[in-house]
């Protein structure tokens, strides 16, 4: 067998622990980013201009300054300012959460705006409180539409995790790089690494498709099982508004 794969299987515990770090950063980052998206996204629809302004500023700031710079700033610059060094993984999670939370807030805002006006009016006519209106009428419908763009963001986040290698957190990329250095098999090592990320991305897409199906089922829309295995490019075709990874949408 090829020397790289021999090394790969001999060092399987390290590979798995690297995978664990990547998974941890992805999941923690995504969960916090998701929460932040809702906070910022709901703030963007607030009637008070100050609340809207705060949300806008935070969103534009974290979208406008590159993720890469944010991560480096947290890891290298912050300790010089405060004298307190955060762990590499923690820095990664915070940077991913802030950056993708900012992008996610646009998804939340767009999803809420896409719920037909009549639904709002009906909720008012039924004398629902603003909280009930959001929680029972608007969000369930908006959520089903938000899931495909959120899937894209989740994959983007996964794709950003190799940045952890640069601030020496022992993620999947770091471990495979070490194996490459030891065996000298560059091409095989990097292709293996890409395949690993591809598999993780596909699993995440599948899980998000399941989530989308259950969100739609709650609205009484049955979507069938075929769509579950579709990839993101197949999913994106019918909904024209492409959620860009950057810039304004």
């Amino acid at each position: 067998m090829n020397t790289f794969f021999t090394a790969f299987f001999d060092n399987l515990p390290q590979v798995l622990s690297g995978l664990g770090v990547t998974a941890e950063a992805t999941v923690l980052g995504a969960v916090i980013a998701f929460a932040l998206s809702f906070v910022l996204g709901l703030m963007a629809g607030h009637r008070n201009i100050v609340v809207r302004g705060v949300s806008r500023t935070v969103v534009e700031f974290f979208r406008g300054t590159s993720l890469y710079v944010q991560l480096f700033w947290l890891y290298y610059a912050l300790p010089l300012l405060t004298g307190y060094q955060l762990s590499a993984l923690f820095c990664g999670v915070v940077a991913f959460a802030l950056n993708f939370g900012a992008y996610g807030s646009e998804v939340v805002r767009g999803g809420i705006n896409a719920v037909p006006r009549a639904q709002w009016e009906a909720a008012v006519a039924l004398n629902l409180s603003p909280y009930q209106r959001m929680r029972r009428v608007i969000l369930p419908q908006a959520l089903a539409q938000m899931i495909p763009p959120f899937t894209n963001l989740l994959i983007q986040l996964l794709k950003a995790t190799p940045l952890l290698w640069l601030i020496s957190a022992a993620d999947l990329m770091t471990v495979i790089q070490q194996l490459r250095d030891r065996t000298g098999e560059s091409l095989i090592a990097y292709v293996t690494l890409l395949v690993c990320y591809f598999i993780i991305a596909y699993i995440l897409t599948l899980l998000m498709n399941l989530l989308e199906r259950s969100a739609k089922a709650r609205l009484g829309q049955y979507t069938g099982t075929r769509g579950l295995f579709r990839t993101r490019s197949a999913a994106g075709a019918e909904t024209v508004p492409v959620v860009p990874t950057g810039g304004a949408s």
Binding site: E60, F61, R63, G64, T65, S66, L67, Y68, V69, Q70, F72, W73, Y76, A77, L80, L81, G83, I155, L158, K159, A160, T161, P162, L163, W165, L166, M173, Q177, R180, S186, L187, Y190, V191, L193, L194, Y197, F198, A201, Y202, T205, T231, R232, S233, G236, A237, V240, P241, V242, P244, T245, G246, G247, A248, S249
Partner: protein
């Protein structure tokens, strides 16, 4: 240097270096985006080919490139093709990576061209090449310009990845200055602000363009 405060003299010192690096950043963005925009269009057209032997592999490869990290692709390409100039590698890899995104944008644009336009071209017995060039693409591309612009902005913000393969763009300069003078705060703060100052007005411009095209 105490390092506890933002040091304005260090900031003044690092700024010219950052701006020099910024030229490379812009160069990589513009060239990389050109590659991405052209290649993306070719992919979008290939995906409408009449046979599955073309569409299936193209789609598979696209899905693979788009689901895997740019950083790994860059480092991998730079290591495997170590004799090629890193800037060239960076531009090509960025271009290919973003082509997978722009192709989706074009696809949405092409799908948005009404079926009647295709039928009319057929009725006028235009050749396939003329149908694409004179009828479909002018309409499709016009509609997707803002979306393409947004990808250009997001590519711009991903150019710091090139620093990893030793391209001396802005963040590379920031890291170098930070390491030499132990002044990361000034270097990275300024680098981040330069990104913000450059990308925010551009994204406002795109939003305006979007409104004007009636999205």
């Amino acid at each position: 240097m105490s390092g506890a405060k933002f040091d304005w003299s260090a900031a003044g010192e690092v700024l010219p270096m950052l701006l020099r690096g910024f030229e490379i950043t812009l160069l990589a963005t513009v060239l990389g985006f050109l590659v991405g925009a052209v290649l993306g269009l070719l992919i979008a057209i290939a995906r409408r080919a009449p046979t599955r032997f073309v569409t299936a592999p193209v789609r598979g490869l696209m899905e693979f490139i788009r689901s895997t990290p740019l950083l790994v692709q860059l480092v991998g390409a730079a290591t495997v093709f170590s004799s090629v100039d890193p800037l060239v590698i960076g531009i090509i890899v960025l271009g290919i990576h973003y082509a997978t995104y722009t192709s989706e944008v074009y696809r949405a644009g092409i799908d948005g061209v009404p079926k009647g336009q295709w039928e009319a071209s057929r009725a006028l017995s235009l050749s396939p090449v003329r149908t694409w060039r004179a009828v479909v693409l002018p309409q499709a591309v016009r509609n997707v310009l803002p979306a393409l612009g947004n990808y250009a902005i997001s590519m711009f913000k991903e150019t710091p990845f090139l620093a990893v393969i030793t391209v001396q763009e802005m963040v590379f300069e920031a890291r170098k200055y930070g390491a030499d003078h132990f002044a990361y705060t000034e270097a990275f703060t300024l680098a981040g602000l330069i990104f913000l100052v450059a990308s925010y007005p551009t994204s406002l411009l795109m939003r305006k363009l979007e409104k004007r095209l009636g999205h």
